[in-house]
Amino acid sequence: MSIATLEIKKGLNVAAIREDFPILHQMVNGKPLVYLDSTATSQKPEAVIQVMDAYYRKTNANVHRGVYALAEEATAQYEGARKKTQKFINAKSYREIIFTRNATEGLNLVAYAWGRKNIRAGDEIVTTQLEHHSNIVPWQLLAQEKNATLRFIPVDDQGQLRADQIETLINPKTKIVACTMMSNVAGTITPIRDLIARAHAVGAITVVDGAQAVPHMPVDVQELNCDFLAFSGHKMLAPFIGILYGKRELLEAMEPFLGGGDMIREVHMHESKWNELPYKFEAGTPAIAEAIGLGAAIDYLNELGMENVRAHEIELTDYALNKLRAVDGLTIVGPARAEERGGVIAFAVPNAHPHDVATIFDREGICVRAGHHCAMPLHERFNLPATTRASFYVYNYPDEVDRLVETLEKVREIFKS
């Protein structure tokens, strides 16, 4: 059943969607696969797999520099994907969409190309205790190099940013505010608009980590008014590619990050001139097939409707939170209400290490992740060395939550928790 034949009114027709994801229909350790790790990486629908396959079979050529038919077609598809991405997040111009390797590279690009030029000793950079390491380490490296100070907005017991700290922490010394829109552990949807407003009021730029938000809810960069937004294709039904949105004025004023082919207009032995945006920031041969796959993934998500994706995840998360709260002794990280969080639930089982928990889940064919999920400071905040994490996407449904909860009972039995 193809997605196009469905009439989706509210929420999603998950049964039909599942038909589009070949990987889901397999047995693992003798049990039907239950994939609850989309926060780490999502699965890909037929439409995405096929568009890449077709690219390699019919179109493959290097972009931008060829005048022959294959190269023209590859370029048209590659640039078409950029326009789709632009529209998906409502950027003003396709020139504001830079393809990177992943969200991490996007954040580092800002830290290098904007940060290295604009940060001086004594300046402050603000991030939060909620962040993924990708939105901490680039700023640590920058702060260290420039003798700047890195500050963290703390998190309350519910996994929400402490609103009362924002005004003090984001102050006239602040030059960069880097914050996630949605935590990949606590699920927290942050008050990103307040942070952006405050940052702009003190003259700081804002770098939003959209790695979890963009795949799971409508995101409009013009409405947000953020300066940069980084996210990853592989978490939104697409292949391994990253996207960095940046406001055009800022990107224009920045020096390049990586040097090489395609990002230049002229190279002479002792000086070079940079290419126009976005190419100035895309050095070397880009991930062409992957960009085209991203375009197909965006088409797919648009067909579902991001409002519906969000509604579906709220529903499923609400169902899961209620079931999990009934499990004795479980610690659940993050906000209480599904509306305040994404479709990700990290939890700790008494006496059982997350690694062991995940292994027992694996025996049941259930994919959950165990560890610090690249968010050690957040785990330190909650005094948890690690957690087990289940996360949902468009292809998950309540029966899978039931299997999660049943298996949790088995874990508790083994570990007498």
């Binding site: 931008h64 520099r65 060829g66 005048v67 038919a69 190269a71 023209e72 370029t75 048209a76 003003k92 111009s93 396709y94 020139r95 230049i264 207009r265 002229e266 290419n275 126009e276 190419y279």
Partner: protein, 130 residues
């Protein structure tokens, strides 16, 4: 002969009109095509806001050079306002040949340079929706 390179295009390419420079002209503009490194310079003499003389020079392919040759023919005698109104379609019609996306850029290099000159800017604001 390949219809892309019909006689008139080759003729303008091999014997360009308005080729050269006007060092004392009011307007000097240039631009490059990053795809191939082609470069085009245009000197425009305005008299009472009318293009009284124009010269171009540079390095480029038959399409970009023929386009410059034909375009400079077109603008002599036109007012600056009329020059500003010249658009992409005008160029494509003027050349009258089928062009793929990258060769369209060659065809439009002369228009970019002309616009840069006419508007007194160094880069022609692109249409984000193109």
């Amino acid at each position: 002969m390949d219809d892309l390179y019909r006689e008139i295009i080759l003729d303008h390419y091999q014997h360009p009109h308005n080729h050269g420079e006007l060092p004392d002209a009011n307007i000097h503009a240039h631009d490059t095509n990053p795809l191939c490194g082609d470069v085009l310079y245009m000197d425009i003499q305005l008299t009472n806001n009318i293009v009284s003389d124009v010269r171009f020079r540079g390095k480029g392919c038959a399409i970009s050079q023929a386009s410059a040759s034909m375009l400079t023919d077109e603008i002599v005698g036109k007012s600056l306002d009329d020059v500003k109104k010249i658009d992409k379609q005008f160029i494509l019609d003027m050349l009258g040949i089928p062009l793929g996306p990258s060769r369209i850029k060659c065809a439009l290099l002369s228009l970019k340079v002309l616009k840069n000159g006419a508007y007194g800017i160094t880069e022609w604001p692109d249409d984000d929706e193109e």
